[in-house]
């Protein structure tokens, strides 16, 4: 039972962690809370099927074999984020964070309505990798293959990202930009390159979430990114705005607490699971208002 619980918690937390990472990356380099991230996820899901308002979905890109499909969808996500950066956020680069946030809201609404126009309002079924749902026995636990893949994917993504940030030039520039963007620019860090890089990474992380969600649920829905976006945003706040490792830890934590509450609460209290979850979030923020892992750059120096 406890091993089972651990896997359930990791699987849910993992999805939230990847989504939170996507938001934290962009916040780190340009202090933008990208509320359109949820719609990036939805767009990446809908990219799998052909645009049509018919009730029955017809697979488009989703027909491709997995080794081709995964990079294609990741580039769809990255391309969308890059386009959003170039068309919406670059012209607003010098605006206040609040203006940027409102801009991202507007972009999210626009994207959602674009999906509604192209695909209609009815949820669509997508049969993608149905075999991944089959349970595998590990010790006392029965875990769907997909959960194992999700957990493995998170480890790969985190290690890859850590290497990228620590070892590569763009990583160094991103870290410098996250610490103090103005100073980094003066020292010759190319702003456009860093910001575009962060958006591309963030967009492909949204696409990863999209693929996991589709494989898990088999459904595409115009509203599907919203809830994940909300939890991921809370995770970035709890983790400390701008801290990448904080976002990951908090994303995992929120997913884990959610799974624990679902398993542990008495039946009458279970419908209010999220109320307990957010109460825990408030509690954490009371003791650590700056989040669990506030990066050095965001601390106020007197």
């Amino acid at each position: 039972m406890s091993l089972q619980l651990l896997f359930d918690a990791l699987a849910l937390g993992g999805i939230h962690a990847i989504a939170a990472l996507g938001i934290a990356l962009i916040f780190g380099v340009m202090r933008l809370v990208n509320f359109a991230h949820g719609q990036f996820i939805a767009c990446a899901v809908f990219a799998l099927i052909l645009p049509s308002a018919d009730a029955l979905a017809v697979l488009g890109l989703g027909r491709l074999p997995a080794p081709v499909l995964v990079p294609v969808i990741l580039s769809v996500g990255a391309g969308l984020a890059l386009a959003a950066e170039a068309l919406v956020f670059r012209p607003m680069r010098n605006a206040s964070p609040v203006t940027l946030m409102v801009g991202s809201f507007a972009l999210g609404v626009a994207l959602q309505n674009l999906l509604l126009v192209l695909y209609g309002g009815r949820p669509k079924a997508i049969s993608l990798w149905a075999g991944l749902g089959h349970p595998v026995r590990i010790g006392s636990a029965e875990v769907p293959l997909l959960q194992l893949i999700v957990i493995a994917a998170i480890i790969v993504i985190l290690v890859g990202l850590a290497l990228l940030l620590r070892r590569s030039r763009i990583g160094l520039e991103m870290r410098a930009a996250a610490e103090d963007f103005g100073m980094a620019r003066m020292l010759g860090v190319p702003a456009n390159r860093v910001i575009s890089g962060a958006f591309a990474l963030s967009g492909s992380l949204a696409a990863v979430v999209a693929l996991v969600l589709v494989a898990q649920t088999g459904i595409a829905d115009v509203r599907m990114g919203g809830q994940i976006m909300l939890v991921a945003f809370i995770a970035t706040v709890v983790g400390g705005m701008g801290s990448l490792s904080g976002a990951v830890v908090a994303g995992l934590g929120i997913g884990a607490v959610s799974a624990l509450l679902q398993a542990g609460l008495p039946p009458e209290a279970r419908p209010f699971r999220d109320a307990f979850l957010y109460a825990a979030v408030i509690l954490v923020l009371l003791f650590r208002p700056q989040g669990l892992f506030a990066p050095v750059g965001t601390r106020t120096r007197v």
Binding site: G121, P123, K124, A125, E142, T217, A259
Partner: protein
């Protein structure tokens, strides 16, 4: 003779003019996500209107339709209601869902007009939530849950049930309430556990772990959910190797979502009529054909039907009352007991403007193919206190 023009005018008014059109206002979602649910039922309503017009109209008047868009927004819904009233509506058809239809229905109520929800299945979408002139012709959610309970007990020897409730909307709670009321009353039947999830939960792994921890797999799982969460839950339940018969409400009728769980079997829903061409009543298939002729495709789910039924019932009541005035038509509607319609008998009373019992067709999905397998009418109507959730 200064008076003459005045007298002539009076005479002109007294002579019967060609009867004016009778106007029905549709304050429904023509954009936003609700559009996908409102349009099929509204189209069905217009099919019945066309039939009535072709047969000479209602009270000798041709029915004209005016429309306003709620944009799937509660505030816009009230505006859309006012808009169709301004356009001369004498009866108002409002959005499928209680939350999105009620603001417009309240406008109609304020004008003393009848309002009909396109397919609401929450008891509030009527006297209890809107007012004395508001109706829905669909079948209440608790009736669907109770139908699943009694049918599975009688025809599939279901004795143990597990209830999995999606807390997203009132409709889901209604399904579960009906099931929870009916199932334990049946001989030898008991609910062995229950759990909740949220429609947009990315994973229901913990809920599945709880079901698998039961000493024996339950005979049936009552899943009270709607799309997209319902399809996601079914996919995860089956993937986890849980083979219980899964029951749900009418809301998941349709084959459009079946790709989410390839080769799904043992999934049952109650519906008002079959969209799959196998309904034993020829009127139902005749309607499906008429719908296809009008839109180019057969109905995607049973939710087109209540639109047809509501115009049918209202028009009958208007014929009897001889007027479209709200209170008079309401009185005629409330006199209807098992009034035959193409999709089964319908009743209204001064206490309830909904169906607390109904003949439902049972649709079962086997090997990814839905088919009508049976029909069922619950042995006793769902009592009002269960409907009200007390």
């Amino acid at each position: 003779m200064k008076l003459a023009p005045g007298i002539l005018a009076t005479l002109a008014l007294a002579t019967p003019l060609k009867a004016e059109d009778l106007t029905i206002g549709f304050a429904i979602a023509k954009s936003g996500w609700m559009e996908a649910y409102d349009t099929p039922a509204a189209t069905a309503a217009k099919i019945r209107i066309d039939e009535i017009n072709a047969a000479g109209g209602l009270l000798g008047r041709q029915i004209k339709v005016v429309e306003a868009d709620t944009r799937t927004d509660r505030a816009e819904s009230a505006k859309a209601g006012l808009d169709v009233v301004d356009q001369g509506a004498e009866m108002m058809v409002v959005s499928c869902d209680y939350d999105f239809g009620a603001p417009a229905a309240l406008v109609a109520e304020g004008e003393g007009m009848n309002s009909f929800f396109l397919c609401a299945e929450d008891v509030k979408a009527g006297i209890q939530g809107v007012g004395p002139n508001s109706f829905s012709s669909s079948v209440l959610a608790p009736v669907q849950g109770a139908t699943m309970a009694e049918w599975s007990h009688a025809r599939r020897e279901a004795r143990t049930a597990y209830v999995l409730e999606d807390t997203f909307i009132e409709y889901n709670k209604g399904i579960c309430k009906g099931f929870d009321w009916m199932f334990p009353q049946l001989e030898g039947a008991s609910i062995v556990g229950s759990d909740t999830f949220k429609n947009d939960d990315a994973s229901i792994a913990s809920q599945i772990t709880r079901i698998k921890a039961l000493p024996e797999e339950p005979d049936v799982i009552m899943l009270c959910s709607v799309m997209p969460g319902a399809a996601a839950a079914v996919r995860q339940l089956r993937a986890a190797g849980i083979n219980s018969l899964i029951l749900n409400g009418s809301a998941v009728d349709g084959s459009y979502w079946l790709d989410a769980t390839p080769d799904l079997s043992g999934f049952v829903v109650p519906v008002q009529g079959s969209i799959y061409g196998d309904d034993p009543r020829p009127e139902v298939e005749a309607f499906n054909k008429a719908y296809e002729a009008k839109t180019g495709a057969r109905p995607a789910s049973q939710y087109a039907y209540p639109g047809y039924v509501l115009i049918d019932l209202w028009a009958k009541a208007v014929e009897h009352a001889g007027t479209t005035e709200g209170a008079a038509v309401t009185a005629e509607l409330e006199r209807m007991t098992d009034e035959p319609t193409a999709f089964g008998p319908r009743s209204f009373t001064p206490e309830l403007h909904h169906q607390n019992t109904a003949l439902m067709q049972i649709i079962e999905i086997t090997g990814g193919k839905p088919a009508r397998v049976d029909e069922w009418r619950i042995s006793q109507p769902v009592p009002l206190d269960v409907l009200m959730g007390q």
